[in-house]
């Protein structure tokens, strides 16, 4: 009989991977371990999930009621945003990456025939921080998926050395704002595939190109070069579009939902007309 299964993801510092876990027959079962890009030995790495901003109501389908204006609920498949920092590096180098939970669910539920030759080896003991002997049920060895087999197609990496993390970030639904520490530039990245198509068509109709002024459609691969954190360059391909706004003060706060981004700054001077708040 088919078993309805729920899935969650664990970020593993030891083993440097994402562990996809399911709940099966009343116990945890590891479905896949997705390796992350190789880092230099000795790097004290931090991997954290970026929480959604408090504006907007999460999971409208489960609550069964609309959110309150002016903010609306994010789309059901909100993008998962994670950031990576090197703790022992004086410049606190960091990167962001994005992946859709639906992609991870698909990877977790894929049949084992997909695995290929020689990939089903028991790496549990050294990769997963959870020891099977401490569990009441001994799970089967999980499948390890190398980074190159899932990551480049399913993620998008952004170099975030100039970003205050997490203060300079805000996330809601498929959208994430990134505030530069020194540039005064705010980028709004949107991974919503339907809006991406709409924006792409609109820009191509108007300019015949992939971008105009402060709007850029990114559907081609980008590469973060190897450096002091990562051993190799990280190629990623998840499509998105980006809006940019310059001249934003560094200490600006963000409120956002799936339609609006509001930049708010508290100051003692009387505001000039049109200065704040700012909307994307």
């Amino acid at each position: 009989m088919p078993i309805s299964e729920n899935t969650f993801v664990l970020g593993l510092k030891r083993g440097w991977a994402l562990e996809l876990c399911g709940i099966t027959e009343n116990h945890f079962s590891t479905r896949r371990i997705l390796k992350l890009p190789a880092i230099h030995p000795g790097t004290q790495i931090i991997l954290k999930k970026l929480d959604e901003t408090i504006s907007g109501t999460h999971c409208p389908s489960t609550l069964g009621r609309p959110s309150m204006p002016p903010f609306t609920s994010p789309s059901p498949d909100a993008v998962l945003a994670l950031y990576v920092k090197a703790n022992n590096h004086p410049e606190k180098l960091s990167s962001l990456f994005y992946v859709f939970p639906s992609t991870l669910r698909t990877l977790a539920e894929r049949r084992r025939e997909w695995d290929g030759d020689g990939r089903e080896r028991n790496i549990w003991s050294w990769l997963s921080p959870f020891s099977p002997c401490t569990s009441r049920n001994s799970p089967k060895p999980p499948l390890v998926v190398p980074w190159d087999e899932w990551g480049p197609e399913s993620t998008r990496w952004i170099n975030s050395e100039d970003i205050r993390i997490p203060q300079g970030l805000a996330l809601s639904g498929t959208r994430c704002t990134i505030s530069g520490r020194s540039t005064g530039c705010v980028r709004m990245l949107d991974f919503n595939p339907e809006r991406l198509l709409w924006i792409e068509d609109r820009i191509k109709c108007e300019t015949g190109e992939n971008g105009m002024n402060d709007c850029l459609v990114v559907t081609s691969p980008t590469t973060i070069p190897a450096g002091q954190i990562f051993q190799y360059g990280i190629e990623s391909k998840l499509p998105y579009y980006e809006l940019r706004k310059t001249g934003v003060e560094v200490d600006t706060m963000f409120l956002m939902d799936d339609k609006r981004v509001v930049l708010i700054q508290v100051c003692s001077q009387i505001l000039q007309s049109g200065q704040y708040p700012t909307y994307f």
Binding site: T7, F8, R14, L20, F28, C59, T62, P129, F130
Partner: protein
């Protein structure tokens, strides 16, 4: 408070499931208080993360054992009121967790209060 194994104490936290509207014990659970045991101690690194998936709660505790932060993951059937599975990190590691597929029950809006003892 639990027993003692060598020098590592067994600690206990309790999950209280209450009706959001009334603050009384949740009508869908057979056990209003679900205890979770873990070895080690409370310290500044002690953290709890909790998520609800249908009839299950997934609870992640970060706690200290012999000056190292460990994580214990619990699968709790909150309707029947017992712990179904426990996994503990044998070594210090850092984790986050995120639920990918949520199928909440309609009556699952509850106050989850965690108390230490």
């Amino acid at each position: 408070m639990g027993g003692e194994t060598e020098h590592i104490k067994i600690r206990n936290i309790e999950i209280h499931l209450m009706q959001f509207t009334t603050g009384t014990h949740h009508k869908s659970t057979s056990e209003a208080v679900i205890p979770l045991n873990f070895p080690g101690s409370y310290d500044s690194d002690f953290k709890t993360h909790i998520a609800i998936i249908g009839d299950y709660l997934v609870v992640l505790l970060a706690h200290e054992i012999s000056s190292n932060v460990h994580h214990t993951l619990y699968l709790v059937d909150w309707v029947r009121g017992y712990v179904m599975d426990v996994r503990i990190t044998p070594t210090s590691s850092e984790l986050f967790f995120e639920i990918l597929n949520v199928s909440c029950r309609k009556d699952a809006l509850a106050i989850i209060h965690i108390s230490r003892s």
